[in-house]
Symmetry: C2
Subunit: 333 residues, 2 copies
């Protein structure tokens, strides 16, 4: 994130919170900028004639938006169009998963250059709609435009959770265990290999984590239903930076075990610690509840990698020694 | 709209409707692609223990997304940054107005080049948040990214209307009168003047319709509350094409009076007929209800320009003669 972008986001957060009352009409914003999704409750309208003050809906609404830009998030010469469509939606679904939510509807804003081949567009749509179908999401609208340069996509996903049950970034407490889903660093490893221009020689299995990440909807939902996750975030930008975000929102520190970080034998530690785009989930569990946690959900392993501690320090345990955890990766708001 | 884009939108509409059941969880999609906004009702969840089948919320939810791209929708060298921020949000608000809705929350996705001056960003935000404040909208989230070329903005606006009262494009019937708000063609006139590169010589009043269009939220809402509009659309792409869209969705034709089209003395007919970005409202009124219609709402004139007819033809009346109305302008989905 460059300086102007950082300043802009800081200014936006300050201004948005000043301008954002908790309630507009029948929508109450329970959580705005600073989590994976915004969370809204639907409350009785002010001119309601109902005498009771029960909420209008038993479910809260989740909303997330994610940009996916050619030249920033993907390269058309590297990535098959079906994978681009898949990832556009996967980014939004992963945010819903990180709240323990169930995705319902998506809106796609898409700009593309005039010379984009029809076949590319078809494959893009196929990749997107296939993931929509398997995730139970319907495309409800959007916008298209010509683009003066590369492909520009912005996905908005709406989902829901039972009222007051969305898993926030802010719920971690000292003593909680830190867990992650799946293996980390696979997407960064694939990207590094592509940068060395040897795509033809790369196995499909190597590229899979980068090209077809699977949003962990089932796991996020199960953790929320069983009340196992005290806080959760998706690993879109890298373990170190996303852990730092969760700790900041919770007002805590963390200590993670280098040896415990789940990665393949070929994946360098740096990819697993700081590589983005894995779209796995990082979550915290109260220590007395970890005995209720399965070690695998839907075939995906869950791994304990550390513990939440008092204070604000992030530490990496290596051979019994505590080192400061460097925080690197992308930043968004 | 170029050929690939047209094909893409057609394919998307077909696929989306096939993949989109009317209901997902507690959200029922009442109106998807093909109107100014998507319309959702909040219904009881399937595991509800309530015995009654009343809807969960008395309000329907409106959702719209709009792209605004440098080099397509604006030029940075022509347009002040506050105006860019204003228009990003105005586009979304205008869609809410066209449903008779009240806007509540907005999400901004924004990508900009690294070298964008901080002052430009500040002014952009100022323009956007000023319109948000006067429109009663709070910024609830979004995404930012670096952009490899120009500024890319996508706005998502959520609004609401009392259940089942959103004014759709599809409600026009033969015999209905056709009305528009304000004056048409002002934005196209300003754009034509800018293209002649004489910005310094242009009066602020000339540029106002292009740089600071006012979404007609108050009028849209008043028409919906008084049950005066049988169908409505905002004039984002031009009178002829937006009228054609409303007629297509309603399955009707239209006859408009050239002499009745409201435009300033300096505005050529072509600008008023086909010029985009006016963000005025076009709406239809049952003939027996037009006596209830004010000729001015909030200082903005309302003008009758024609009538809905049977069939599918769009005609322009000039000196008593009916000519085919050429349809030109931008197309989106």
């Amino acid at each position: 994130m460059h300086q102007t972008e950082r300043q802009f986001v800081e200014r936006l957060r300050a201004l948005a919170s000043r301008h954002a009352p908790a309630r507009r009409g029948t929508m109450r914003l329970r959580r705005g900028i600073g989590d994976d999704c915004a969370v809204f409750s639907i409350v009785p309208s002010s001119d309601s004639r109902r005498s009771d003050s029960r909420p209008d809906s038993r479910n809260d609404l989740l909303v997330t938006t994610d940009l996916f830009l050619e030249g920033v998030h993907f390269r058309r010469e590297w990535q098959p169009p079906a994978s681009v469509g898949h990832k556009v939606l996967a980014r939004g679904l992963s945010d819903i998963a990180a709240m323990g939510g169930v995705p319902r509807y998506a809106f796609l804003s898409l700009a593309f250059p005039k010379q984009t081949p029809a076949k590319w567009m078809d494959e893009f749509l196929r990749g997107l709609l296939q993931l929509a179908e398997t995730s139970g999401v319907a495309l409800a609208g959007g916008d298209t435009s010509a683009s003066p340069s590369g492909v520009v996509a912005d996905i908005m996903v709406m989902g829901e959770v039972p009222r007051n049950t969305a898993v926030l970034r802010s719920g971690a407490r000292p003593g909680d265990e830190i867990w992650v889903t799946g293996q980390l660093g696979g997407a960064a490893l694939a990207l590094a290999a592509l940068r060395k221009r040897k795509k033809a020689s790369l196995a499909a299995a190597t590229l899979q984590p980068l090209f077809y990440p699977q949003p962990r909807l089932r796991i996020g939902r199960a953790l929320r239903e069983r009340e196992l996750a005290s806080a959760m975030i998706d690993l879109s930008d890298g373990l170190s930076i996303d852990l730092a975000r969760l700790c900041k929102e919770s007002g805590v520190g963390a200590r993670i075990e280098e040896a415990a970080i789940p990665r393949s034998a070929r994946t360098p530690l740096d990819c697993a610690l700081h590589g983005g785009e894995d779209f796995e989930l990082l979550f915290t569990v109260r220590s007395e509840r970890t005995r209720l946690l399965s070690r695998r959900i839907g075939g995906v392993p869950l791994t304990r990698i550390g513990r939440i501690v008092r204070g604000r320090k992030l530490e990496l345990m290596r051979g019994g020694k505590a080192l400061p955890l460097p925080v690197r990766g992308f930043e968004h708001f």
